[in-house]
Amino acid sequence: MKFIRVNMSDKSIHVEDVPQEYAGLGGRGLTSILVNAEVPPQCDPLGPENKLVFAPGFLTGTSLVNTSRVSVGAKSPLTGGIKESNAGGTIGASLGHLGITAIIIEGGASDEDLSLLHINAQGEATLIPAQEYRGMRTYALVEKLLTVYGEKNSVMCIGPAGEYQLASASVQSSDVDGRPCRAAGRGGMGAVMGAKGIKALVIDQRGKNADAIANPQAFKEAAKVVVEAVLADHMSAEVMPNLGTAALVAPVNAMGAFPSYNATKGQLDGWEKISGEAMAEIIKKRGGKTTHRGCDQCMIHCSNEYVDKDGKYITSSLEYETIWATGGMTGITDFDVIARLDFLCDDIGLDTMNTGVAVAVAMDAGYRAFGDAEAAVEMVEEIAKGTGFGRVLGNGPAAVGEHFNHPRVPVVKRQSIAAYDPRGMLGNGITYATSPMGADHTAGNLVGAYLEHKLDPLSPEGQIDTSRFLQIAMAAFDCMGQCFMANVALLHPDGFGAFQKLIEAKTGAQFEDGYFPFGMGTRILKAEKEFNRRAGFSKQDDRLPKFFYEEPLPPHDKVFPISEAELDSVLEF
């Protein structure tokens, strides 16, 4: 258990024991509480006072499956508030096996500086000049780095978008096949990495210094409950390994909540061409992979490899939110184009969601027509070139809306919504409005509750309480390093208890009943809200854009009906 602090102003590296206040935390909990404690909330997110924190989950590096997530946290250049974005791949597990609780990048490099941080199998960290990699896209970069440093390394890196410090810049993470196709996409964490002058983290996968487990037998027993729940659930055991998250296209579109043509309709013409079922058929026919292990210690295999007509790799993993942002929102229903846009975003180092929605806002403003696939590819390529318009686009939908003076911009705190329209799924709108992260489906997604008949997506009844509960639960869950696909374990009657037992078994400490998720989740959300308040956010920032309250969404022709007072009550604790 250690922090590695890397100061980019003087290039010093310090290793320290983890302070007591971070005991039992990992992932989002660690990044958010540390950022709230150490980063001046009013600071320039791209300046030396900001800190960029990489933290594997608290259970990452243990024997528990599906735990190779790493959280990336900082003050966001996109939202201006606190941000945590997490990614899969292999680096989470690599950090966990090295016993590294967090890497904290501090200070600021000069514009000419570019470095990579290398950590060897003994856990020794070194800053290495990386000028030769300047401007490189992520696929070529990772291929080169794995040649230089060896295949048994995990890479987390930025592309040109991160070097340009654009607000949609992602941090890309290498998968088990050494491809940078996993992303901490949201909130411009790639821009913060670029501002720190770090092109890549290269972390040896052969560490053998994982945190000790205080009570191995209790850990094993609790882990068994989680594994059995994941194996028994139809989502993780059947749907994800065959269709991946793309399986959501059909049901969300059928519910009339699939934001299409920049959220002017809730159903997409030609949605059948971009459904999960259609994707699987194309991939199978061409000899790609509908089932693929993208992350270390994964037992779900929700990933895929999308290939072209000649069977040649285009991208991995093509997922629901990307298909929606680059397809539904733009009116593009050609899977080959969507796959190409996904690859381009990964390669340039961009959040697929913020970028797809930025393209859609430009189309809605009349810059190009909806459905113009060639224009969409050209626009994304323009971001890599760093042209004036490319930089506007790379700063996300809000920047594009300002550029064209176009008011229909589906963002909260400048971050794009996800693939669930707030007028067709009210609870998701509540989560978008009130999450300290800005519009973020992973902060508390109610789609499962709607499909399982627990709530009516169009009736306000029960939405506030469910969004609140899920936001607390996800804040805690995001500390564990567990993949979202494994969150079905929480649906098991003993699911929450099993995670509390895992924390207790690892730490050897006892927590009060309900610590997981309530004690942990509310502690994290309070820290995040406090940071945002001190950064200048008010309740007025916890609102959806005006058009969601005014423009009815076909086919249900409803607007978002939740009052300001109700929104203010969501995270009031």
Binding site: H234, S275, V447, E452, H453
Partner: protein, 79 residues
Amino acid sequence: MKVKVKLYGMLSLHVPDYKPSQGLEVELPDGATVTDLLAHLGILETRGAAVIANGRVLKMDDEVQDGSSLDVFQSIQGG
């Protein structure tokens, strides 16, 4: 009564002879519910089926309407 049914997710694996391009025409007794439809199709509760008609998720005890088109999905917690 007769209803038209389309299956999504991996449900077609559990219904013999299902052809995605055609869907199914199912004959049910008058007053049949969503539960009755799923039982008729042989779709077990553990598959997490969600039936949607006209943009609305039906409850398990909702009666199925004669001549309706029903889409059957598997519930998913998010993406």
